[in-house]
Amino acid sequence: MSFQVNNNNRPPFPPPFAQQGPPGPQQGPPGPRPGPPPPGVVPRTPIGPPQGALGPPNAPPGRPSGPTPPFGVRPPGPPPPGAFSSAGPAPPPPGTRPGPFQSAPMNSGQVPPPSTGAPGPFSNGPPSGGVQGGPRFPSPVGMQRPVSGPPSLPSGPPSLPSMPPSAGMRPFSGGLAASPLPGPAPLAPSFASHSQGVPPPPLGSSAFSAPAQGPQFQVSPFGSQPWSMQQRQVAPPSAIPGAAPPPRMYNMPGPESAASISPAMSQGPSKIDPNQIPRPIPSSSVVLHETRQGNQANPPPSATTDYIVRDTGNCSPRYMRCTINQIPCTNDLLGTSGMQLALLVQPLALPHPSEEPIQVVDFGESGPVRCSRCKGYINPFMRFIDQGRRFICNLCGYTDETPREYHCNLGPDGRRRDADERPELCKGTVEFVATKEYMVRDPMPAVFFFLVDVSMNSLQTGATAAACSAISQVIADLPEGPRTMVGIATFDSTIHFYNLKRALQQPLMLIVPDIQDVYTPLQSDVIVQLSECRQHLELLLENIPTMFQNNKTADSAFGAAVKGAFLAMKSTGGKLMVFQSVLPSVGIGALSAREAEGRTNITAAEKEAHKLLQPADKILKTMAIEFAEYQVCVDVFITTQTYIDIASISVIPRTTGGQVYYYYPFSAVSDPAKLYNDLRWNITRPQGFEAVMRVRSSQGLQVQEYSGNFCKRIPTDVDLPAIDCDKTIMVTLKHDEKLQDGAECSFQCALLYTTVDGQRRIRVSTLSLPCTTILSNLFRSADLDTQFACFLKHAAIEIPSSPLLQIREQMTTLCINILHSYRKFCATVSSAGQLILPEALKLLPLYTLEITLDKSSLMLLHLQL
């Protein structure tokens, strides 16, 4: 109600970011950019000058590295009047705000979008800092602390970056605290900066600038601000629920504050004071987080903060975090809470540079010690008994003999005496050297295959040249050595492979003309050790644009080309990077312009809009499954100026653990640099090949489903032709039986993969969390970021199959259910009009609102999943 009113009063309010961004920051390439992107198409704000350079004048103080105090402090700077005046025709005077949040008003549908960067770019891969010459991956430090002023691009258009759902995906994407942060985070800054100004600042992207907060808000009736964030964030390590103030204290204003609210209420009981709406306040200070303290799991800091983890038994939250940091003992309890129980697993996540590297353990011939029943790997929570002769598996409860060579006596504390020397017994995350047993073949070499569109359009728009130059630059970054293999092919209506392994000067172009029934030259001709062909490759890449200069073929055989390249890589597997510029029109898996079809019948298109997000047919899916089977991961770089049916194309990267990069409309002026940067991050980031992942949990819980970009062949395992530091997988859990109160429940994620330099490794992350029967504990230990990421992922999965409206409603319902449950079972009685929020989830409504408002971001979600 109140929201509605409020918002209705502000019709002209901020247009979505996408529109705002471009005109503001960079007038540079203004022309070609169309305003609102067509539905289904993801608009992209161009990379421009660092955001710091634009926006409100007082932006700098907001920078994380700046000396200014963290946002949470809310310096009493004068409010920039401008900001507010534009915030709406009638910014309600603070005084008139009604105190309580109404519990039911989240009628999201009509709320104008609070301008996030949602429709922002698919930010691909690496923090764009790289473009600016920022150090790339190996020295993430640089990125993390952008050198003062202008840099730190990422703070730019609050991109809903590659993985909106998981903040964890890009934890380092430049100046954590300051950056708008991926995922749910984008909201955060805007709120923070403008403090109570519910509407995000008109200036949009630059919003974070601290100054926005007006002192007047400080005097708001909610001045008590019991849920101010600083407190929690400043001292996360100690934020153990038990030690924290009673939960209720963090709830929305309790009765004790009613008095102060009343004036407001009297003024307009149906209104909500936007100032009272909780908003994320990023902390700029680095937090030190110990995963376990006092033999108890320590709830992780918010994903948006900058933290350094010390692995004291549980794995770092970067690798695995749970939606609730205490596990409900029964399914009923979980159901009552309305929350989801799920893990977000990011096995190769980038660590903070100050964190200790993961230790590699080599058990020699025998391989790592494992439970003989559930095959769980040895971890700090396995309990050794009987003088160390036997151990009890923390996952299945089975008692196993300790292998003789692994035997060690127990100390007085019941721990093994060597527990502290052995990483696998004291660290939440270790890497085991895989033995032959874990290999079906020799570890595969690192194969990089580039596939470039050279059809007429692609050449004319400069996409081919951009791709070639990006590849040419990037091969310099590929590791030298016999294990790095490269291959290249181009395609229009036929596929052209290149034989680079030749003593002679001229490269040999091998054309495969049959695009219905594709085949490929001998692998040994086409995929060559990089060291053998570097010069040839460079020369060739230089020549390709001119070689096809006069190409009059407008058709593109994308499906056939990908298939052809796959066949070439079939025996090894590897990464296939496709640069595609036009709608695949011929050959296997040819697509047609569905969008045009839809337009002829607008009403039908409206109704069936989500169908456009489904793949056109099953051919590409079938192909993709085959690719995954042979460990080929496909990344698609779409450099287009027209409709290209990403919904269909994206099936391939999605199934093979790849990624879609989208440059629309492609500009030969501004995009090549970005393309290069994305490509470089793609191949230089930490990654592994031919991976298999499985998550095990303690008895009583079991994995319900994995979701993410991978191939599902058997339900228990996740097959990933390639996995990199940016990939997150959501693992939903379900109860088998009742858990014991007070016990701990463990989750173990094991990722078997081949490193870039050809070693087979098993990365094992173990997380052990307490179980509880108390509902309020659940709410207290809820992990908002994770939870919301799960929401988003679920929504994204739904998008192609349900109308958007329905999904929005679902999201809202989810949020309401949680809040309702909290109110009903945990909160003390309060007035009916009051919205009561659990402290841990206080931002949930805000986030939910945000995501339901923005249509295109939801669409995007789907693609980025």
Partner: protein
């Protein structure tokens, strides 16, 4: 009658030079009425007429010396159908003492250049023969130079007769699986050939291993190759589509009118990229141990055909396949690449165990039809120690008139000579090669044409003189040949018509009209008109007119044809039956008395030929691979009478101190320690040193000036052998061996085993370990059976 002399005039060898008038009698002759015809025989005198021939309106025969000419009314009467034809205006000057060359009685063969600019000159005086240009040289194509001036002034050096800018097309199909050494030799050889090709020929390059790689010679940025999957059979249309040459409408003189394709280009335009591409070919083998290289010969040929089809070459084209191993994948494969599986042998083929054989043959039959439809010639150069699938490939090669060579290495002299032989030039630079030939036969009414055996294909054109009975390629009076050279010989079979009995001792005529595209791209028509007499029954002329060599070669071709259809014992039985019938018909004997049996001298060699034919590699496939058999049969099927007879019964010369070399019996008795034998079986020439000679040679007596005569003795056979080898094509294998050495098997296998391990008196002489019947036994049996009636 000297048949060889006659052949030199007519280019024909008749099994029977006088034909009986009745059908029943002709059937009783056993050896059918047949003519071994060498259409493009080299003649000492061949008039080349620069105008179009005069054709009879009714039967299509061409004006010839046997036509009655009425000079007054300027009318000629066709000797075949008696139709009166009027001379056209260009023959206005014709008269008793001014007759054109085609009417000269001595010129049974003349050659016309069609569509030439030099038409018959109205005022031309044919007065004497010397006025007509004669081809005095032995070469096929260098006639242009020797013309008298005047009427031919309009012809250019390239030869009139429709000669145009674009030359024939050559597609080189190379086996990329050959070893590096082999490939190098092959590359060099092909580069050499290319450097000598005329500029106007079209060239294409295809390399195959498990893929077919078609080189785009028009692309200059880098080497560009279109890849076909060797395992798939691609239809003609698909090939064109995949190559992107579907819509080309290429016209004579206006090449590449619509779209540019780079796969088949005039040499002048692509010589650089072609040589670069050839230079670039490297051994593509990626074989695993215990596996044969993956070779898709069939697919490569199919693609090459598709390419030529797509380019609509009208000037004749050749696909030259160079391979060094069996086809192991795709259509036309003969064995799979696992060494566990052996390549099929005769027994497999006969027993039906060679499953791939049938499939492969069917595939090549299709190819063969496509080749014919587009007048493409397929050549196979196989240099391999193993079989390559020549047996399967024989059909398309033979029917397109192509050349086949089985060698052991591309580095061998044999290969080099063969390749260079094919690309011979004549004096004015055009290739000595002709394309797209047809042979038309016109006969008098009493004769019926049964068919032909040789590298030709029936065009199924029927008229009144085509018999219902078909022998070989029958049912037509016209045949097509992809290409032919001056040695190609075709056996034509005839039958006496049954309608009306011709008058004995009247003449009958046969005219052979061979139309072909000359190497200079002009179209030529060669016309040979011959006459023979009918003879009455029981006439001695029949016997006198028997040419036993021609008869033997005809029988050999028939036997080979039988052998294609039947099993070995059946063929032998068939041959024996024929021979017994022949012997009882022409022998002179008292019934039931074998000892009384005699054969006239002009029949006496025939049984011996048949004996050796039975033992020859053409019929007896023991010890030969199917590939070799196919090759031998293919060669026999196109070789003239002289060559055929050598193939059937090799010649053996003895060199000794006693005097000049003498021919000796092809018998094991001819082997003696103190003589040198020169053996010639056409495919193989053996110099066999008797054990004493060999020992002397070993001791180096030939270098001793005191033993000058020994040196000369050693030299003589070598010089002769070289001569034999030089003239022959494909180049035979030359073997020098000592008595009792392993290489002597080449000789021993062919000798008549008159002395074997079973002989009573061997007294130290050479013997052959065999159970084969010796010639003597064979003849004895024959006599016994023949006199039984």
């Amino acid at each position: 009658m000297d048949f060889i002399e006659l052949e030199a005039m007519e280019g024909l060898r008749w099994a029977w030079n006088s034909w009986p008038v009745s059908k029943s009698e002709s059937n009783a002759l056993v050896v059918p009425l047949s003519i071994m015809c060498t259409p493009l025989m080299q003649f000492n005198e061949l008039p080349l007429l620069p105008y179009d021939p005069l054709v009879c309106n009714q039967c299509g025969a061409i004006l010839n010396p046997y036509a009655r000419v009425d000079y007054q009314s300027r009318i000629w009467v066709c000797p075949f159908c008696y139709k009166k034809n009027v001379f056209p205006r260009s023959y206005v000057g014709i008269g008793e003492d001014n007759i054109p060359a085609e009417l000269f009685p001595t010129y049974s063969t003349v050659e016309y250049q069609l569509g030439s600019k030099g038409n018959l000159n109205l005022s031309h005086n044919w007065g004497s023969g010397s006025d007509v240009g004669l081809n005095q040289s032995n070469s096929l194509g260098s006639m242009n130079g020797s013309y008298s001036s005047g009427s031919l002034s309009g012809m250019d050096g390239r030869g009139g007769g429709g000669g145009v800018g674009t030359g024939p097309a050559f597609v080189f199909v190379l086996d990329g699986c050959s070893g590096e050494e082999e490939l190098r030799a092959l590359r060099n050889e092909i580069l050499l050939v290319i450097s000598q090709l005329p500029d106007n020929v079209l060239v294409g390059l295809i390399v195959f291993d498990s893929f077919v790689r078609v080189y785009d010679l028009g692309f200059t940025e880098c080497l560009r190759v279109v890849l076909f999957n060797g395992e798939r059979q691609v239809s003609s249309d698909e090939t064109k589509q995949l190559l992107g040459i579907q819509n080309i409408k290429q016209q004579l003189g206006r090449p590449h009118a619509t779209e540019r394709q780079g796969f088949l280009l005039p040499l002048s335009e692509c010589e650089f990229s072609l040589t670069a591409a050839i230079d670039d070919i490297r051994s593509l083998t990626h074989t695993m141990r215990a596996y044969r290289p993956q070779r898709c010969t069939g697919a490569a040929i199919s693609v090459a055909v598709g390419l030529l089809e797509g380019c609509l070459v009208t000037t004749g084209s050749r696909i030259m396949v160079f391979t060094s191993g069996p086809a192991t994948i795709g259509p036309g494969m003969i064995v799979n690449s696992d060494f566990v599986n052996a390549i099929r042998n005769h027994r497999d083929v006969d027993s039906g165990h060679a499953t791939l054989y049938r499939k492969s043959c069917d595939f090549y039959k299709q190819i063969s039809a496509r080749l014919l439809a587009s007048s493409i010639v397929l050549d196979l150069f196989a240099c391999s120690l193993d079989q390559v699938g020549a047996a399967e490939l024989r059909v398309p090669v033979e029917r397109s008139g192509g050349f086949m060579m089985l060698g052991e290495s591309f580095e061998s002299d044999q290969f080099r000579k063969c390749l260079r032989h094919i690309f011979r030039h004549d004096d004015d630079g055009s290739l000595k090669m002709c394309f797209d030939a047809t042979i038309d036969i016109v006969t008098t009414k009493d004769l019926k044409i049964c068919g032909a055996l040789g590298p030709c294909v029936s065009l199924q054109k029927k008229n009144g003189s085509v018999s219902d009975k078909e022998i070989g390629e029958g049912g037509t009076h016209m045949w097509k040949l992809g290409t032919l050279d001056n040695r190609t010989c075709i056996a034509f079979f005839f039958q006496v018509g049954s309608e009306q009995m011709p008058q004995p001792s009247s003449a009958f005529f046969i005219q052979f009209i061979t139309c072909y595209r000359h190497g200079n791209m002009g179209i030529r028509k060669r016309v040979t008109t011959v006459a023979r007499r009918w003879v009455g029954s029981q006439s001695a002329d029949i016997d006198a007119g028997f040419d036993q060599e021609a008869a033997a070669s005809v029988m050999a071709r028939l036997a080979v044809q039988e052998a294609e259809k039947r099993y070995y014992p059946d063929v032998i039985r068939w041959l024996d039956t024929m021979l017994i019938r022949f012997a009882s018909k022409f022998g002179d004997y008292v019934a039931e008395d074998p000892s009384s049996f005699r054969l006239a001298s002009n029949f006496s060699l025939f049984p011996q030929f048949m004996y050796y034919l039975r033992r020859s590699q053409f019929i007896d496939v023991f010890n030969c691979s199917p590939d070799e058999t196919a090759f031998f049969r293919l060669m026999l099927n196109r070789e003239g009478v002289v060559g055929s007879v050598i193939m059937i019964q090799p010649t053996l010369f003895q060199y000794s101190f006693d005097g000049p070399p003498v021919p000796v019996l092809l018998d094991v008795c001819s082997i003696s320690p103190d003589v040198i034998l020169l053996f010639d079986s056409y495919f193989c020439v053996v110099i066999h040193y008797g054990s004493k000679i060999a020992q002397w040679k070993k001791l180096g007596y030939d270098k001793d000036p005191n033993h000058e005569s020994f040196r000369k003795l050693l030299e003589a056979p070598e010089i002769d052998a070289e001569q034999l080898v030089a003239d022959r094509f494909p180049v035979p294998k030359l073997v020098k061996c000592d008595q009792h050495s392993s290489q002597a098997r080449f000789l021993l296998a062919k000798l008549n085993p008159s002395v074997t391990q079973n002989s009573t008196y061997s007294d130290g002489r050479e013997l052959i370990l065999t159970d084969d019947v010796s010639l003597q036994d064979f003849i004895e049996h024959l006599q016994t059976l023949a006199v039984q009636g």
